[in-house]
Symmetry: C2
Subunit: 228 residues, 2 copies
DNA sequence: CGTCGCTTTGATTAATGTCAATAGAGGTGG
DNA sequence: CCACCTCTATTGACATTAATCAAAGCGACG
């Protein structure tokens, strides 16, 4: 088993278990690795599995018939995906880079949950956390301007992806189109807003996927709607 | 104790418990009733409580400093509010009409959860359900047109509020402003879209808070983006 | 009967989307 | 190593949706 070297060993579900519980959990898991651009789960398909990401970034999205897409989240190490799936997945999960993960059969997890109630506690905590994030995103999508959305996104990204401590360097594993679909904007608007923020010396665009936050305080103010 | 006559007795948390468990739960609860327009919990305040709505409708919202507001949900009988609150509430809960509810001290619930794991299971299921709703709302806020948002809202409302079975008659306990803040629009746009739907004979506006769905199929199609 | 709050309707503006062209970056093969 | 190709991002011109500003209608209530 890979648990000893797993990057997610000390986060989320796995961290809740001692060695023997972990062995049982590992027994129910299937280790997988997929390259960029693969679909981990597709909206509408039977939600038989549940995965725990141990490396890489996954894009979660909902699509409309005519091609409009809303990215509902980007998740990485330690994240659970497919938690609530009542019978069918309610979104599509796609790899943005090389992703390693454990896949669990939903049915096999059930009795494990009964014997280790701490697992359910962790899932509940994770679900509540995701819910709070989703609610913040609703405020962003419903009420913030394009500029405010970008500022919020950059601030959030500077603490979400792999770093716990906020850093000036922000690595964005997704392309502009994914950012646009996450923020409810178009690629062009994302590009224009980034350019504007750069011209005002609030950020520096070192490379397309590599941004430096120059004035964090100002960005936070913009993101919360305090300035313009 | 009021459990015997409580409208929420056979939904959510309470339904999971047998008589003696329920007695314990009741022991930790405080029954309250508030008129319209009261604040049940305020964003940013210490999240000491957790409530279970037994009657009425509660509006959950997040506000920005300059007055912009996003309603993140309307909840009624059986709903849990304040679930995940890590230390502080992440939204404000306001009564839209007369609301009756049970209030629990978060600390007193903890040991009850340990002894009745089924409670945690129910909360997890509820949280996952809310998460899926939040994700659908993100699609609405990020990608749908005003017309599509209204159609979606009406269809959802026709099965959410008090009725399990979808009905033609939709009673909206909230005012236009709340609908606007829920759909990420302005009052004027909500009004205009409702008028347009009425003129096309898809709905009838019997009274401001009382709408009849005339062509459900067409509304569903509009809401999912299939037509215009 | 008049006032107040909420809703509807109308005219205009502003923000973002759409369409189109250009510019870079990265990869491949001659 | 360089030229080319493709994919992505940027920039510009214009169109469109929904917001804003303003006024009038409607209902409830004193």
């Amino acid at each position: 088993m890979h648990c000893g070297t797993c990057a997610a060993r000390h986060v989320g579900l796995c961290d809740a278990l001692s060695a023997d519980g972990l062995a049982e959990l590992a027994d129910a898991a299937c280790w997988c690795s997929l390259p960029r651009g693969c679909i981990l789960m597709a909206e509408g398909e039977p939600g038989a599995h549940f995965i725990n990401v141990s490396h890489g970034t996954v894009r979660l999205s909902k699509d409309m018939q005519d091609g409009r897409r809303q990215v509902i989240g980007f998740v990485s190490t330690g994240a659970f995906v497919g938690l609530g799936a009542e019978a069918r997945y309610s979104f599509t999960a796609t790899t943005l880079d090389e992703v390693r993960f454990c896949r669990f059969e939903r049915s096999r997890l059930r009795d494990l949950f009964l014997r280790y109630p701490v697992l359910e506690q962790r899932l509940l905590a994770a679900a509540c956390n995701e819910l709070a994030l989703a609610q913040s995103q609703m405020l962003l999508l419903g009420r913030k301007t394009a500029r405010e959305r970008l500022a919020t996104f950059l601030i959030d990204s500077s603490s979400n992806f792999s770093n716990r401590e906020p850093t000036a360097r922000v690595v964005l594993p997704m392309c502009r189109g994914d950012i646009a679909d996450y923020l409810g904007l178009t690629i062009e608007t994302v590009s224009r807003c980034l350019t504007a923020l750069r011209q005002q010396r609030l950020i520096a665009i070192d490379a397309e996927h590599n941004i430096s936050i120059i004035d964090r305080t100002a960005l936070q103010a913009i993101g919360s709607g305090a300035t313009n």
